[in-house]
Structure formats: C-alpha cells, structure tokens
C-alpha cells in the first residue's frame, strides 16, 4: 500500500515541497518593515491548509471513485479497510508535516508578536503560529477525504470542502474562540491602557474619570488557547475519519 500511495501522489508531494521552498525564499527576500507584505504573508499562511484540503484531500478518494480505480484497488489482495487506513495515514502525516514546516518557517521569520506588533492571541497572528496551523492542515485534508468519499466526484467534493472549511474556521475563530476561557474585565486608567499582548474583545467602555472598562484575554493564555483550538479541530477531524470509514466500508463500490 505504501508504494501505491507514493506512486500515486508523489507529484503532489513535490508540488507541496516546492511551495514550501518558494515561501521560504519569499520570506528571506521580503523586507520585514513592509506592512503590506506582512499582511499578505498572514493571509497566505491562513489559506495554506485550505489549499491542502482542496487539492489534496478532496480528490484523494473522489478521483478514485470518479475513474473507477477503487474497483481495481479493492479487488487486489488488500482489504478496503487497509486501503483506507493507508490513504488516511499518509495524508494526515503529510498534512501535519507540511503544516508544521510552514508554521516553523513563518514563526521563525516573523518572531511573530514583535514583527506584527499585535497581540499573539488576536485573529491573524494566532492562526499562523504555534500548533494550530498543524491542526487546521490535518482537519482540512481529512475534511476533503471524508467529503470525497461521500460525494465520489472531485468537483462537488472540492466545493463542499471549501465551504465547510471556511464556515468552520470562521465560526470557531469569531464566535467560539473568545469564550475558550472566561475573559478578564478590568477598569484601567487611560495611562495604563491594555496590558501588553492582550486580546481586546470589546470596545472600551468609559466608566468615569477613573478610567475605562476593558474586557480581554490576557497574553499569557496564548498556549492554553492554542491547545484548546487544536483539540477542537482534532476532535472534528476524528469525526470525519469515522465518516470516511463508514462511507468506504459500508457503501457499495
């Protein structure tokens, strides 16, 4: 099975490796003072996992069904269960390694919170550092695989992967993440301002001459938030793996 996986998908591996090299080179020649460039890199890095889900995850099984080669693979001397396990294992491993590599490169380049001059917890910087990009990559690729095993056609699988990935990411980042832990509410004087690196959740409310009421997540919760967010996406990915197993093992070829 490992040979089959390698033989079928080595081109994608080369493309993914090439993209990583290009990203590294771009980061090396990019001036760190250029704010637009930094914004662009943030966006590119945020979109990377989605590309992985779209162009690798979604076609992985859907293409086999579309071409009928699942019938070829499933009548060789290995069971469907083993076939699916190899597909999932290698896809998840590749996504995790690639996600980790992209994050490492971006983190090294930005020394994130300093260069971006913003809270590490805020939307944007939070999504491209630490361990969450790895979870996004794994989730995206497993989402693509599960949806592909359900629709069995490449284009509908890609379209659904795109919509579902964006929806889940946005909902969790905007609606769920601010409540991972109870926010801190404090009245601070104007001179004090927001503690360094904190993520401000709502507009400051003027409460009198003493100062303003701030509601925020303190900077030292960065790794706790990374852990919770990663956990959420790994649980979602596990559910999608179960769905893929169900689709492949119980449905007719």
């Amino acid at each position: 099975m490992n040979y089959l996986m390698w033989r079928l998908h080595r081109n994608q591996l080369l493309v993914a490796g090439g993209a990583l090299i290009v990203l590294t080179v771009v980061l090396l020649i990019l001036p760190k003072s250029d704010n637009h460039a930094i914004e662009a890199i943030v966006y590119v890095t945020i979109v990377m996992p989605l590309l992985l889900g779209l162009f690798w995850g979604a076609p992985l099984l859907a293409k086999e069904f579309e071409d009928g080669t699942n019938g070829l693979a499933w009548t060789q001397g290995v069971t469907r269960r083993r076939w699916l396990r190899s597909n999932l294992m290698w896809a998840i491993l590749a996504a995790a390694v690639w996600g980790a590599a992209v994050t490492a490169v971006v983190t090294w380049w930005s020394l994130a919170e300093v260069s971006l001059g913003r809270s590490r917890l805020g939307p944007g910087p939070f999504d491209i550092q630490g361990i969450v990009p790895l979870a996004y990559s794994v989730f995206a690729v497993v989402l693509g695989i599960a949806v592909g095993s359900m629709f069995r056609r490449v284009l509908p699988a890609m379209a659904t992967t795109l919509a579902a990935f964006v929806a889940v990411r946005v909902v969790i980042a905007v609606l769920v993440r601010p409540h991972f832990m109870s926010p801190v509410s404090r009245v601070v004087s104007l001179a004090q301002g927001l503690p360094a690196g904190a993520w401000l959740l709502s507009n400051p409310a003027y409460v009198g001459p003493n100062g303003t009421l701030l509601t925020y997540q303190p900077a030292n919760r960065f790794w706790a938030f990374q852990g919770i967010e990663t956990g959420v996406f790994i649980v979602l990915a596990a559910g999608l793996v179960a769905l893929a197993y169900r689709m492949v093992l119980t449905r007719d070829a």
Binding site: Y3, D67, G77
Partner: protein
C-alpha cells in the same frame, strides 16, 4: 463434500435493489469449477451487478452468493481467490503498465509478474508509457494481464471487449483462450455480444430483466432446443413435453423454438437443430414480450 465438488459460484435467491428497482432479482445458479461461462443479457439486465456481488464490491439486498463455498467479503484470503476486470478497464491513467505490475506485486501475495511481462512483450505493448496514451485494445490487454498475474481461481470479466474494434477483440479473445487453457481456472465473461463468446465458453448464464432465464452447459442447451416447422395449428394441439420458447405463425405454417425432453413424436413437424444465438435471442424476446404485456395492463388500470 470433496473440495473439488464445491461449485465455483453458487447463489440462492440473490438480489440487489437500487432504490425501488431491482438490479438483480431472485438469482439462483450453480456453476461448477473449471468452466468458462458466458454471462449474456441485454444492457441493464444486471450483469455488472451480479459480477460486483460475486467479488464483494456490492452487498446483496436479498439472498446469498458463494464463491468456492465462501461468502464474498473483505478478507485477504477471499480477495486472493478472485480476479476482477471492471467495465471500461479502469487503470491509473498517469501510471505505466510497469507501475501497475509493481503495484500489483506489492498488493498481492501471489503475483506472476514474469508471465504478465511476457504476454505484454508478445503483444508489443510498451510497458513504460502512461496507460492514458494506450488504445482501448492495449488497455484491455494490460487489464487482462494484471488480473491473470494475480493467479485467481475465479476470473470475472465485465464486458471486456465492449469498446474494442474487431481486430483487438479477436486478439483479446485469443489471449483469453490461451490463459484459460490452464487447468483449474474458472471464468465468467459478461457481454451483450454472444457471438464473440461462443468460441471460448462452454457454459452460459442468460440474464434478462434482472432474472435468470437460462443457466447451464452450452452443449446441453444446444441438445435441448429444436426448431419445429409444420402446418399451422393451435397452441393446445402441441404435444406435451415440448416447452414453447418462441412461436411465429404465417397463414399456413407454425414455426416453433422449443425446449424438448426427449424425441419429438409428432411426425408432421420438421425438426432442425438451432444455434446458440437463436436460442438466446428467443429467450430475450420472450422476456421483452412479458415486460411489454405488463405495461399494457398497467395502462388499462389507469
């Protein structure tokens, strides 16, 4: 029961439903091992469904199937015993025949790469080019080489010659004939073109409208069917022991294709032997006529 006596294929009441339609219904046959069986029937009769049920790519909705006494399932032992070539010969387009052989070698415990390479070399098929560049005939030959390299006990081929021109078809049949000359291999080949299969096969299953119409040895089938031509007469005047498959009448003559139990006694019939293709067509027409009759009745009920 001796292992040699276990039939290659044994089904009882096998059925497969797609939504509210039956793709195959109440299918009960037994095919002894060592035969080359033609699976014929019109398009949509359930040939592909039957083959998929036999290799475990589909799960039955009713009844059961056994291949060498084993229920088709996802186990390495079962998968090693069957070879399946799907309709349109799906292959990994971007890979070469060599790649496919290498993949097969790694996915199967028993793999005869040397024989496959020798066959492809004899046919002058380049093994290092992507199969996407191949003609339909070359692809079919690669597909056949791959299933044979698996050294299966039962080989199932789904319309392997449907897309081939007459020359490629003849070459494919020659390859198949040479391959099945090996002792022990049981084969089922589906086609809606009986003509191609008649030379290779010694057994026949006729599927029409999702049901079995005929199943048996081709020689016996030929011995059991006769064409009778004689003066025109009513249906109840035909002697018992003759089952009419097809009747055509002109003003003076009645022409029957019948299944006989013994010799035809009525001397007024002129009895002639009948070819396999005519027998098969007669059974298929019969099924069509019945289906047509049902439609008429439905029309009246409304």
């Amino acid at each position: 029961m001796n292992v040699r006596d276990v039939p290659a294929i044994h089904t009882t009441g096998l059925g497969k439903r797609y939504g509210s339609n039956w793709g195959l219904q109440d299918f009960s046959v037994s095919v002894p091992r060592g035969h080359v069986t033609a699976l014929v029937g019109p398009n949509g009769a359930g040939k592909t469904t039957l083959l998929k049920l036999l290799v475990g790519l589909c799960a039955p909705s009713a009844g059961e199937a056994e291949v060498f006494g084993r229920v088709p399932q996802q186990s390495e032992e079962f998968l090693a015993s069957i070879g399946y070539l799907a309709q349109d010969v799906p292959l990994y387009k971007q890979l070469s025949a060599d790649d496919h052989l290498e993949i097969g070698a790694r996915l199967n415990r028993d793999w005869d790469a040397a024989a496959a390479r020798a066959r492809l070399a004899a046919l002058r098929i380049p093994t290092n080019r992507p199969v996407a560049t191949f003609s339909g005939g070359q692809r079919a030959q690669v597909g056949l080489s791959l299933v044979l390299a698996k050294r299966p006990q039962l080989l199932l081929l789904d319309e392997p010659m449907a897309a081939l021109d007459p020359l490629a078809r003849r070459e494919f049949l020659a390859s198949l004939t040479a391959a099945v000359a090996d002792e022990g291999l049981s084969v089922v080949v589906s086609s809606h073109l009986l003509h191609d299969l008649e030379r290779v096969c010694d057994h026949l299953i006729l599927l029409a409208a999702s049901r079995t119409q005929l199943c048996g040895d081709i020689d016996e089938m030929l011995a059991e069917h006769r064409t009778l031509v004689g003066p025109r007469r009513a249906a109840n005047e035909i002697e018992p022991g003759l089952t009419v498959v097809k009747a055509t009448e002109t003003a003076r003559q009645t022409r029957l294709l019948v299944r006989v139990d013994g010799p035809v006694l009525d001397p007024s019939w002129e009895v002639t032997e009948v070819g396999l293709e005519d027998i098969v067509l007669a059974y298929m027409e019969q099924e069509e006529a019945q289906a047509g009759g049902q439609l008429v009745e439905l029309g009246r009920a409304q």
